[in-house]
Symmetry: C2
Subunit: 358 residues, 2 copies
Amino acid sequence: MEKTRRIVQETDNKTPTVFDVADLAGVSRGTVDRVLYGRGRVSQSTREKVLSAISSLNYIPNSHASQLASRKEYLFCCLIPEFSKGEYWEYINTGFVEAAKNFSSYSLKLRIYYYNQNEESSFVENSRKILESSPSGVIMNAVFRDEVTLFAHKLEEKGIPYAFVDNKIDELDYTLYHGVDPYKSGALGAYLLTVRSDVKDVLMVRLKRDPRRKADPNRPRRHGFTDYVEDHFPQCRIHTVFIDPEDSEGTLLVMEDFFKRHPDVHHIAMTNSRVFLLGEYLKKHPDPQRIVVGFDDLDNNLNAVKDGLVNCLVIRHISQQSYASLTSFAEFVILGRTPRHRNNFVHMGILTKMNMDS
Amino acid sequence: MEKTRRIVQETDNKTPTVFDVADLAGVSRGTVDRVLYGRGRVSQSTREKVLSAISSLNYIPNSHASQLASRKEYLFCCLIPEFSKGEYWEYINTGFVEAAKNFSSYSLKLRIYYYNQNEESSFVENSRKILESSPSGVIMNAVFRDEVTLFAHKLEEKGIPYAFVDNKIDELDYTLYHGVDPYKSGALGAYLLTVRSDVKDVLMVRLKRDPRRKADPNRPRRHGFTDYVEDHFPQCRIHTVFIDPEDSEGTLLVMEDFFKRHPDVHHIAMTNSRVFLLGEYLKKHPDPQRIVVGFDDLDNNLNAVKDGLVNCLVIRHISQQSYASLTSFAEFVILGRTPRHRNNFVHMGILTKMNMDS
DNA sequence: ATGAAAGCGCTAACAA
DNA sequence: TTGTTAGCGCTTTCAT
């Protein structure tokens, strides 16, 4: 028989190890391991003995020893939209990368895949690659309802856990979600635009999007915004103009044209993340009565606030969002730590010039 | 000679271990350990050989193996003011406790000491106890300048690192600081109270404090507040009343008396963390024109916002503050991870009914 | 279905 | 000053 390490069990009150559990249950360490992690078959009776020994000793496996012995490698794949510098998804990307650094001692590999938001096929292609690499876990956002659902089901089949960031599909069996409630954030923006003032007109600036794109991830936020305005200011008109994010000259013209026709509109909102695009117009045509509200803490937006062009931003600490996501998800997968909440609605912050961090 | 583990070094490209370093440097593992952690004497020439081997192999010690072999225990002591339920320091306390949980696998012990803010001797007494227990690190706040300085110097002598939360003493050699800039937060409160309205009178409600107490930790915030008001509304009068936090009846009387004499004052601020104390008055005497601003995300304050009694709160996610503090500090002490910033000014949040988390 | 034992990479005590 | 070696607690392969 394998020798017991400790003769005098009573005298030491160290934290229990597999040895202690094995002794108490009258089995070997190997068996303890088998019941703990379900590797290999164990008879019902021994399983129970081991389980009761574990709970009576209050045994908790030493994660360092475990990690050392197994030298497991973890691969986490993230699937998010491709982005240009300074865009929303770049910050999400950064959060993932930063979070992964904290797991350096676990030989965690992070692989981020980028898909084209205008083409479902691009999402599908990338999800196929991910499945091939059989990762320990997947984090993605949920734009294309059908494609995402299909992918999720395939992951479930292979027993690969997955998490959502930014948005989710409620029906799916995801492990974790991090994001804001977009409807509420829209309402908050409307509140900030209108609070302590009597508003009769609001200009909502929207983005011309690629006509191929079916998904409209911004809709809930927009509705949160307009519903709030309609509820609290029934007499208020919401004007809308569209600008092309690639065409700053055109943007300027659109804005100048609108305000030529509506010189008495002073409240401007943009419910996507690019209010900074209005910067040129706002700077060129100052208006002391004007109030501008935007969303998201992109650097460009922060600068617009700093310059006094935008009054106020509804933010969600973007990279913190993905940082928290990967952190909790990896802790779940690697350490088996159950996340405190499955759905994590990150706090909506309010940013003005007065509370900008330096 | 100790046998080399790997014969064919070229063929495997695993992450290097002490063996590899020892081989390359032509010394034993023990020696590598000595130069890495400065245990025991090593000749200058071998030290250099080892060091160059380490850097050429890009060697990083495996923290799991290290932890497993050494079974080090870490004791972190925190020294903060004693508190009643629902007070600011209770949240700080919670943050420490929560953060410590994440280090369960490192056998980290957390010991929190509480001192009486009215008696320097209480701080001194507790700091003595902490020194006796020779902890791996200390976190405290800095109220009593002289006493804290003395304690800090003693810690430095013993080579014990320390960190500050909430406030700090710039001259000291602390490892880490987490807190807000109180002056700026005061100004933010004033901004929120006055923005988009023309203010002629402001009521500032202050707390009667124990006359023994010398420290006035709230002063910088108060000054941030009053300076902002004076700068932006030179014609504005700032009225002040004092209430006793223990005497809710008296508070009601003080408030009623003030507003009997000044019925046209509608802006109220409280620069300490207990704006909720005004709740009774505010509920009893509604005023649609009224704007109330307070500080800090105590549960009682949050409820006052939820009930519509307080318009807006300047917050700092109190427990996150101490959570982050212990987390970075422990990572520094245990894993040798250098913190990204020595001074961490946590973000000042703005909380209204519209962006309260559920 | 279960047991035995060889490591995982590092530390620390002991030898030399 | 330097080398050697027995573990730390767990996983995993090989026997049985």
